[in-house]
């Protein structure tokens, strides 16, 4: 896995590099936009971590040129600015994710993992959450390798929750996700599916938490 870090602050760049190397990524680090553009034009990476404020060529421009060349490499933008316009502009230019400085290292690492996975498979083939694995394409879930007996809609709910593990998913979002399948799914129906999922998953220590008025959350795995 080759990762390119484009960041002009040496301390931050060093921290990022060492953190990712510890996770067994092959990391290159560049501190100006012009060189980044040149390197990206000649070499291929599995992920680019791109700072917006760069000398010579700013991050937006590097990103624009990268996408103009048709490169599909996932890009995680870093920025010290937090205005909404910047975020939207970056995503419009083809960034895949966005992280505002300063950030938590585990957060960055999680996003890097997600982006690399997405870049590899062109979508998520399998989602894992502790002992739980969901084969997205095969529409099958296994717990400790044993197949789980889940209905299509239960699988749909579980897929959304797993994709956003550790984050809240609203009932409307779940309903939307299931909407295309057959008839409209009401909020009450969602409650029923979640209830059934809980019964099947809780014995294995996977818990779905209800967040008052907001929705559900698949609790983070204890090991991060």
């Amino acid at each position: 896995m080759r990762v390119l870090i484009v960041e002009d602050d040496p301390v931050l760049a060093d921290g990022l590099t060492r953190s990712l190397r510890q996770a067994d990524y092959a990391v290159d680090c560049i501190d100006d936009g012009g060189e980044a553009d040149h390197v990206l034009a000649t070499q291929s990476y599995d992920l680019v971590i791109l700072d917006l404020g760069l000398p010579k060529l700013d991050g937006f421009e590097v990103l624009r040129r990268l996408r103009r060349r048709g490169a599909k490499v996932p890009v995680l933008m870093l920025t010290a600015r937090d205005s909404l316009q910047d975020r939207v502009k970056g995503l419009d230019l083809g960034a895949d994710d966005y992280l505002a400085k300063p950030f938590d290292l585990p957060e960055l690492e999680a996003r890097v993992r997600a982006l690399v996975r997405r870049g590899q498979s062109g979508g998520s083939a399998a989602l894992t959450h502790g002992a739980l694995t969901l084969d997205v394409a095969g529409r099958r879930a296994t717990l400790n390798g044993d197949p789980l007996d889940l209905s299509a809609r239960e699988l749909g709910v579980l897929e959304v929750l797993m994709m956003r593990s550790g984050r809240v998913v609203g009932k409307e979002q779940l309903a939307e996700q299931l909407y295309g399948w057959d008839e409209e799914v009401g909020a009450n129906a969602i409650e029923v599916y979640v209830h059934r999922l809980r019964r099947k998953l809780e014995p294995a220590g996977v818990s779905i938490r209800t967040i008052r008025g907001l929705g559900y959350l698949l609790e983070k795995e204890p090991n991060g």
Partner: protein
């Protein structure tokens, strides 16, 4: 008002003062004129009396006498203008008839009529002296007729005339003063309007004052003030830009510190080093929060280049998004964070970005100051007039005496054992004020905890 009243008083003094001086001069002149005319009229009457007497001077047997019938004498004595006394003397100044004790004309003049003032019986009198030629056997000479009357009625009459003349003038002056008072008020109305415009402004509003309705004379003043306001807002904007830039610039190095600290924390061999690094990490987190809040504050204040965007949005959805984002943080601290809102969208006008900042600060505070196992609830409700946002927790609460002060910048309630920089509620208030919303702080439903209520007036 104090200033314009002084202006009015000055104008009045300058207008009414000279008018009163003029009025006094006019009074003197008028009194003189009145006296002249009264004297003229009374003198004519007095002369008539003298002529009447003179016509009755007869000569019989070379003796001069005056044939005054009783009725005529009575008439003379009961004239409307007062009692009249007379004295007729012969050519040799000898007494003929009348009041013998009347002072004689000191220097009897030849044939013509003579008027003069004198005193008789201790009172000021007017005297007319007439000389009539008489022929007696002893030759020709003059009979002198002196008629005297009290001057008091004249003076009184003159005074009456003066009064009649002066009163309308005084009324005129009073009227003029009143008009001036009113006119000055009218003329100063634009200044008063300007004053209330400035008074009613919040200290945030540094926009130019309206110049159009002001009279020509006031415009330079307004223009000068507008220039000052402009310079002021430029300075303010520069200051805020500096804070914002400084905060931005700090973010990258702080991110570096944080990343390195977290890395070191993973590799640190000894418990001792671990503890040190954890402290370092906490300090870094605090610095990050301070940087973010400084930025929020700089953004929430007016005079920034960032224009206040008045888009329409659903506060309900905004609250849902913000709460959703804070759930992982709340769970980390074992706090039950939830949303309790109505189903219908709560549409309002405002700056969604700033309101999101406000919610972030409210949630950050609530989660930070509530004990593990506590509850934080965001509520959005609406009625016909207002849309209300409440963030409620069952934490330790804020003592009544501190409730006003917590909105001050860098003010922190002591003894909470929580690291904060005391800017959160200042930001909340700043943003609320920009939305004409009211922020109040109260106790939670169960008599404990804190409720922060932000009431937005419904714009539509």
């Amino acid at each position: 008002m104090a200033k314009s009243r002084t202006l009015r008083r000055q104008l009045l003094t300058w207008l009414a003062g000279p008018l009163i001086v003029l009025w006094s001069i006019s009074a003197m002149v008028d009194y003189d004129i009145a006296n002249r005319f009264v004297n003229f009229a009374y003198d004519r009457a007095l002369l008539e009396s003298a002529l009447d007497i003179g016509r009755q001077v007869k000569v019989l047997n070379n003796r001069i006498y005056v044939d005054l019938p009783e009725v005529a004498v009575k008439m003379l004595q009961s004239r409307e203008s007062g009692k009249v006394f007379y004295l007729v003397t012969g050519p040799k100044n000898e007494y003929i008839t009348g009041e013998p004790d009347l002072p004689r004309t000191p220097d009897p003049v030849s044939d013509r009529t003579n008027y003069y003032d004198d005193e008789y019986l201790g009172r000021p009198v007017r005297v007319v002296t007439l000389q009539f030629p008489v022929e007696t056997g002893k030759g020709s000479g003059h009979v002198t007729v002196q008629v005297v009357e009290d001057r008091a009625p004249r003076t009184e009459f003159a005074r009456l005339i003066l009064l009649r003349m002066m009163l309308p003038q005084a009324l005129l002056i009073a009227l003029a003063a009143l008009l001036v008072w009113y006119a000055v008020g009218r003329g100063l109305a634009p200044l008063s309007a300007l004053r209330s415009e400035i008074e009613s402004r919040s200290h945030r509003d540094l926009s130019a004052l309206p110049e159009e309705q002001a009279p020509q004379e006031v415009r330079p003043l307004i223009r000068a003030m507008n220039e000052l306001l402009q310079r002021l807002s430029k300075t303010l904007a520069a200051q805020q830009r500096f804070i914002a830039d400084a905060a931005h610039q700090l973010r990258t190095p702080v991110a570096g510190i944080k990343t390195q600290t977290e890395l070191a924390l993973r590799q640190a061999p000894s418990e001792e080093t671990q503890a040190t690094l954890r402290q370092l990490n906490t300090a870094t987190e605090q610095t990050i929060r301070l940087i973010n809040q400084l930025l929020s504050l700089a953004r929430a204040e007016p005079a920034t280049e960032r224009a206040f965007s008045g888009e329409r949005f659903d506060l309900n959805a905004l609250a849902r998004d913000a709460a959703t984002e804070w759930v992982p943080r709340a769970l980390e601290r074992n706090i039950d964070l939830g949303l309790d809102s109505m189903q219908a969208p709560a549409m309002m006008e405002g700056d969604a970005f700033l309101l999101r900042e406000m919610l972030n600060n409210l949630l950050d505070n609530a989660i930070r100051y509530t004990q593990s196992g506590g509850q934080v609830t965001v509520r959005v409700s609406a009625d016909t007039q207002n849309i209300t946002l409440r963030v409620e927790d069952n934490g330790p609460g804020i003592p009544e005496s501190e409730r006003e002060r917590v909105f001050e910048r860098f003010y922190r309630v002591l003894g909470t054992g929580v690291d904060g920089c005391g800017l959160g509620l200042a930001i909340v208030r700043e943003i609320a004020q920009r939305h004409n919303a009211e922020v109040s702080l109260g106790q939670g439903a169960g008599g404990s905890g804190t409720v922060i209520k932000v009431t937005f007036p419904r714009t539509a």
